[in-house]
């Protein structure tokens, strides 16, 4: 299996080349089937790699001699292969969901959309598997480039182009910062591999401005991808306009890649004695996570544009992931891993349902759709279940992950409960209004700075009369996946093993450079549902339902106090760039904070 690890990245690339080259001659069903098959093959490889391992593969057989080398290493440990498997499985469901989805495939390029999705998959899998900083940057850029194109896919309108532009600007800026950081790190260590650079830093043992700057700059790009406040502005704009299948991938895995990258780079490179002290990292991630979670939750509650609502809930949950990873204790990290898995299923399912609404009613505005979707009972039930999963209702995987993270979080437990309740509550409120017609019809108050969701165009060729059962099936499958994360003990055990390896600075270097393999996942005690965890999950689900009930009646005042926060999300690219620059300052201040 070791040698075949690169194929997880390579098969989608070859598929994309095939689709782009033969796309002129290819009828649409053949192109879409080819896309599905390539994605599925890669998913199969990733799952097989996950079952064995850890795999350490040197591209081109350029192995290091005495810990130094010229080659690139792919490290298929549990976390990397797990993330690649999650990505690939989600890509397969997304391609199934997007089956004959768009009305106007580019003329003569029937394969363009599946080809772009395959390239996206390759970028994300490569990023998850690589153990080399520069190679990670290359795959980071590949993800980005494809992401911009997919976001702006519906060029018939002006706003998708605007959203893609904001996405492109902010992410490119983050990419430059990361590249600069990698160059600074190379100046100190003479290495690009994560394990090698980490060992060199430890040998040099100098914790100075150079190390600090390279850490801050590398992290900046990754946090832009992760949409941490104040780097998050691109995300809601991109999600609101991207085609629904693309949103499923952006929210489900791409944003989480940023979180993964930040933690992976810290652990492998900077966590040793020559790097950045653990308390500095902890402080930075806790504060950023707190800010991100609260901002996301507050703005999520405000939205009536259903895709923007889900986008801000992604921001809120990313904040929780960051806060959960801050301490880098294996138990907390296990929780975050499970949380990410559960969240991917739930969030993708919610987007899938929203896409069904958009294509049937030609809009995603909570107020305009009031009571109109009464006939779509099945989708309504799925939507509400997705909302409860976000809120953390046991036994969804989100709830298990949240419970495990909370056990390590101390006073941050309150944050987990409140943020998941608010985001879940917002989704439930929307579900009650749209699918049940609950509460009074809201009148439009003109003049407020507001993004309504009624300018969205349906994405399918004609408004769907009878919902293709495929769309609903995909949503149901995704929710079932999220449920399975909370019900299958083997997943929790594997996540615990992955987390132990993931948080081990010296162990990673030894696995990569010395070839010593710890027994995978064996012998680690793993946590499962506890009474407190179930209780807190039920509490946040109950809170979410209560909030939704109050929200439907308009009893939760929201507009006024959040107006300044909403105005910051102006859609002006210049604003976003300014905040990104300010974010670098904030991050440095947090890492440098005296008394740490």
């Amino acid at each position: 299996m070791d040698r075949l690890l690169p194929l997880i990245v390579v098969v989608p690339l070859l598929g994309a080349a095939l689709l782009a080259g033969a796309g002129r001659r290819m009828p649409r069903p053949v192109a879409e089937t080819t896309g599905c098959l390539c994605a599925a093959a890669s998913a199969g490889l990733a799952v097989a790699a996950l079952a064995g391992g850890p795999h350490v593969v040197w591209s081109g057989d350029w192995r290091p001699v005495d810990g130094h080398g010229v080659g690139i290493v792919l490290t298929g440990d549990r976390t990397g292969t797990g993330l690649a498997a999650l990505t690939s499985l989600l890509v397969v469901t997304v391609l199934a969901y997007a089956w004959r989805y768009f009305d106007e495939p580019p003329r003569g390029h029937a394969g363009a959309f599946p080809a772009l999705i395959l390239l996206f998959q390759a970028g994300m899998c490569g990023f998850a598997l690589t153990g080399d900083l520069f190679n990670a940057f290359v795959f980071f850029e590949l993800m980005g480039v494809v992401g911009y194109a997919l976001t702006g896919y519906r060029v018939e309108e002006a706003r998708p182009v605007q959203g893609a532009l904001a996405f492109g600007f902010v992410n490119s800026l983050g990419g430059y910062a990361t590249l600069l950081g990698i160059a600074l790190l190379y100046a100190r260590t003479g290495e690009l591999g994560m394990a090698q650079a980490g060992r060199e830093l430890d040998a040099a043992g100098r914790h100075d401005a150079l190390v600090l700057a390279s850490f801050v700059l590398i992290l900046t790009g990754l946090l832009v991808k992760a949409a941490a406040v104040p780097f998050h502005f691109w995300l809601p704009d991109a999600h609101a306009v991207a085609p629904t299948p693309v949103c499923m991938l952006l929210s489900g895995v791409m944003v989480e890649m940023g979180v993964y990258g930040a933690a992976r780079v810290y652990v492998t490179v900077f966590a040793g004695p020559g790097g950045v002290p653990a308390e500095d990292f902890r402080r930075a991630l806790t504060v950023l996570g707190l800010l991100t979670a609260l901002t996301g939750a507050a703005l999520c509650w405000q939205q009536r544009h259903l895709k923007r609502l889900l986008a801000f809930s992604t921001v809120a949950h990313t904040g929780l992931f960051l806060a959960g990873l801050a301490a880098l204790e294996p138990e907390g990290v296990t929780g975050v891993f499970l949380y990410v898995l559960g969240h991917a299923g739930a969030k993708a399912a919610l987007f899938a349902c929203t896409g069904a609404l958009l294509d049937r009613y030609g809009g995603v505005d909570e107020h305009r759709l009031h009571g109109r979707a009464r006939e779509m009972r099945g989708v309504g039930a799925l939507y509400a279940a997705g909302g409860l999963a976000l809120a953390g209702l046991p036994p969804f995987g989100t709830a298990l992950g949240k419970a495990l993270a909370e056990e390590q979080a101390g006073w941050l437990t309150a944050l987990y409960v409140v943020v998941s309740a608010v985001t879940g509550g917002a989704v439930l409120r929307a579900a009650a209004r749209v699918f049940l017609g609950a509460g009074p019809r809201e009148e439009d108050d003109c003049g407020a700075p507001e993004t309504t969701g009624d300018q969205e165009e349906p994405e399918t060729d004609r408004r769907v009369r009878r919902l293709p059962s495929l769309m609903a099936t995909v949503a149901a499958l995704l929710l079932a996946g999220s449920l399975a994360v909370g019900l299958v003990p083997a997943l929790a055990r594997a996540a615990a093993g992955a987390a132990h390896a993931f948080t081990d600075h010296a162990g990673y270097a030894a696995t990569v450079l010395d070839g010593t393999h710890a027994a995978p996942g064996a012998g680690h005690p793993y946590a499962w549902w506890s009474l407190t965890g179930v209780g807190l999950g039920l509490l946040s689900a109950l809170l979410a339902t209560g909030l939704a009930a109050l929200g439907v009646r308009g009893a939760v005042p929201a507009r006024r106090w959040a107006a300044p926060l909403r105005r910051l999300h102006s859609g002006h690219v210049g604003d976003y760039v300014a905040w990104t620059a300010a974010g670098i300052g904030l991050l440095s201040a947090l890492v440098l904070w005296p008394g740490g």
Binding site: R3, P6, L13, L14, A16, A17, L18, A20, G21, A22, R24, S59, G60, D61, G69, V70, I72, L74, E104, P106, R107, H109, F113, L116, G123, G126, N135, F139, L142, V146, Y148, A149, Y153, V155, E156, A158, R159, A187, R188, G190, D208, A209, L210, L212, A213, S214, Q455, R567, L568, S570, G571, H572, G574, A578, A581, A582, G583, I584, G585, A589
Partner: protein
């Protein structure tokens, strides 16, 4: 956000960045030193594989996986451009009118075209020996084709540039790189392993798989730049909206 507030936020961020970066630069190794850890290892490794141009040895052998990623980025950009600059249902194509070209420009263009093309091909072919390679040479080749647009007119360019074959060449270059890499797996080694005979140092056939990967990139880059420019030129010269779509944005 008001302009003033935006500039304040930006200034704060840039000041913090400047302070951080200056402090970091003070700790950099001194300029002109003789410690080049990666460079030394890379030159040594390049000579082992009989590749005279170390940069190509890094790009197409030692760190060939990076180049696969970079090539894919270009490939994805072309595909993205094809999608984003497509002709939508509310747009139509017009035939751009030819405009007169001064005789001197025409003579210069027609003279420079074959020379440029030859230089481009040379740069691609000698990537493993001298500075240059698939990326650089590919761009030069694509530039040569576009001299026709400057020297004659858009229709002449269109005649030598049927987009279909170029799009196929673009994909074929990408596929060739991926498959050459898989050759390593078939030979029982790692992905992208250099499994061909290394040849005689400083000859065209030296370097094992380096010339092959280099050529794949050359084909991909030349085709990609042609398609990319064609899409932008098409959008600028041919495609027109049925009505002005520049409505105010939210």
């Amino acid at each position: 956000m008001s302009r003033r507030f935006r500039l304040c936020v930006l200034a704060l961020g840039l000041l913090a960045f400047a302070a951080l970066f200056t402090a970091a630069c003070a700790e950099l190794p001194p300029f002109g030193g003789d410690r080049h850890p990666y460079g030394d290892r890379a030159v040594h490794a390049a000579l082992l594989r009989h590749t005279a141009n170390t940069v190509s040895a890094v790009n197409f052998d030692q760190r060939a996986l990076d180049t696969l990623g970079e090539e894919s980025i270009l490939f994805a950009s072309v595909l993205g451009t094809v999608v984003l600059l497509r002709q939508t249902s509310d747009e139509h194509r017009t035939v751009p009118k030819p405009s007169p070209v001064p005789d001197r420009t025409r003579r210069y263009g027609l003279l420079a075209l074959p020379v440029t093309l030859l230089i481009g091909l040379y740069v691609v072919a000698h990537g493993q020996l001298s500075p240059g390679g698939g990326f650089q040479g590919g761009v030069v080749v694509a530039t040569a084709v576009h001299l026709l647009y400057i020297a004659v007119d858009y229709r002449a360019l269109e005649r030598v540039r049927p987009l279909g074959p170029y799009e196929i060449a673009d994909a074929a270059g990408e596929a060739a790189y991926v498959l050459t890499g898989a050759g390593g797996l078939l030979a029982g080694a790692a992905y992208l392993a250099n499994v061909l005979p290394y040849g005689t140092f400083n000859t065209l056939s030296s370097g094992g798989t380096v010339p092959l990967l280099n050529a794949a990139v050359g084909v991909e880059v030349a085709a990609a730049v042609v398609v990319l420019l064609a899409r932008f030129l098409g959008q600028a010269l041919e495609i027109e909206g049925d009505e002005d779509r520049g409505e105010g944005k939210g």
